[in-house]
Amino acid sequence: MAGAVQLRLHGSQRGAYAARTESPLVRRILIGTALMFLVLVLVLPLVLIFSTAFSRGIGVYLSSFTDPDALSAIRLTLLTAAVAVPLNTLFGVCAAWAIAKFEFRGKNILITLIDLPFAVSPVIAGLIFVILFGSWGFFGEWLAAYNIKIIFAKPGIIIATVFITFPFVARELIPLMQAQGSEEEQSAIVLGAGAWQTFRRVTLPNIKWGLLYGVILCNARAMGEFGAVSVVSGHIRGLTCTMPLHLEILYNEYNFAAAFAIASLLTFLALVTLVLKSIIEWRSARQTAFENPES
């Protein structure tokens, strides 16, 4: 199931000229309805986040980040993303190479299996790792004997995040590389290029925008995951709290200004992700137009 909204690399604008067929009044009502809906659902929350974050002045806002617990939450969030994103990027590139460049039986099943984590509720994602590594879980006794802590500790948070962000890069790359085919790579190999050289010089330039988008989306989700991480973390302040968990603690203590200060940082990250996505879509559309000027 598509948990990821895929990059629309070749969005056509063909429909834009059919506008004449509705009367201006109907057109205005429809645009108005759409905008009202989006303001209510998306814009109002955005305004609220930043206005609440700064409601008690810039001093309180900044001190929300210098608090030792907040700093530890930021560090853990960065660590989690630093493990999950490269691992899932490596996986995404490998999976897309195997699936897009070769023919084999069961390909569709493999693609469906890669998408599975999107269909799993974040809470269940946490639950499965508690069942594996928790004190009463399958490996619980063995881990206890070697004094390894996974659940209610940092490794659990990282593993749960890797699961949640598992399909992001693969999902962007598989359709992109399938559409591009493998003729260019075959020519490179036939002309004597090595495998790594072919990937770096031929494949990578073709997929770089999709890859970049997959990576930033994976990163945004890794840093913002709440449900799965919440189940395995144990909420130990200053130790096993990521930024979203730290935000929850602050909110439950009615420390709204600080909670929304953390929220504003995460929101800023989300907005940067959206801007990058727009730039990438625009660049790739231009690249496509440049390569196929007649289409």
Binding site: L35, V120, F226
Partner: protein
């Protein structure tokens, strides 16, 4: 000459990439998910049903999770269609920003949307304050859960319909118009049938995401047993009570529902491809 066989040998790296893909997939996803099913198989069938299906508190949670997700997905299918239509067919100022903003719920951490919507729709909030005098409480009621799920599902509803509208042949509409069809007739007889599979897959995606959603709902729901307690939260509560088997049983029921959703979506996509 067996071209296919030759082509397979030309490109390098199948063994290593496929090997890594399968190993990593098994270790990270398949084995952990299998663990859940193995754990719940320790329960007898009657035990499983009494814990995960027939328990009144669990039943109330399913009804709430599925009901709220259904209502939210319906609202999203409707407004998502209008938003997609406006973005594809019309030109207006700020369109590119609006288009980019549609993906916001996808990039925004769910805990952030949770505390924001709660603050917004509480009786002291900007929107809640307007609705409370009318006797419509939103935060800490099932309505609040629907509001959170509308936010979460919006990108799915818009982004599945948008490409289908973009790819539609304008000639079909022009033909219908020239044959004397009114605008509403064109909409109901030409446009809607062609994009119905897309609307339905958007609906199913939003619904599937909604039944599993936790972060955004957790804050606005109020989490009162039997009233505003969603199924994922019940799993956490069972875990906290050291009822691991109960948690695993509810997890299995929800996973089976999610996997059926995948099946339905794959069927819908097959249908829409055949339609073209």
């Amino acid at each position: 000459m067996d071209l296919k066989g030759r082509r397979r040998r030309v490109l390098p790296g199948f063994g290593i990439t496929m090997g890594f893909t399968l190993t990593y997939l098994s270790l990270m996803v398949l084995i952990p998910l299998a663990g859940l099913f193995i754990m719940s198989s320790r329960l007898s069938w009657t035990d499983f049903f009494s814990r995960a299906v027939l328990d009144p508190r669990v039943l109330a949670a399913y009804r709430l999770s599925f009901g709220a997700a259904f209502i939210a997905a319906t609202i999203n299918a409707l407004f998502g269609f209008v938003v997609a239509w406006v973005l594809v067919r019309y030109r207006f100022r700020g369109k590119r920003i609006v288009d980019a903003l549609v993906d916001l719920p996808f990039a925004l951490p769910t805990a952030v949307s949770g505390i924001t919507l709660t603050t917004l729709y509480a009786s002291t909030g900007w929107v809640g304050g307007l609705l409370a005098p009318l006797g419509i409480p939103v935060a800490y009621t099932p309505a609040g859960i629907v509001v959170a799920l509308i936010l979460i599902g919006l990108p799915f509803a818009v982004r599945t319909v948008q490409p289908a509208l973009e790819d539609m042949d304008v000639e079909l509409e022009e033909a219908a118009t020239s044959l004397g069809a009114g605008r509403l007739q064109v909409l109901s007889r030409v446009i809607l049938p062609a994009i119905l599979p897309s609307i339905l897959s958007g609906f199913t995606l939003a619904f599937a995401r909604g039944i599993g959603e936790f972060g955004s709902v957790y804050f606005i729901a109020g989490n009162m047993p039997m009233k505003t307690e969603i199924a994922p939260l019940l799993i956490i509560i069972k875990l906290e009570q050291y009822d691991s088997l109960g948690a695993a049983a509810i997890g299995v029921v929800m996973l089976v529902v999610s996997f059926s959703m995948i099946f339905i979506i794959n069927m819908l996509q097959f249908w829409s491809r055949r339609y073209q």
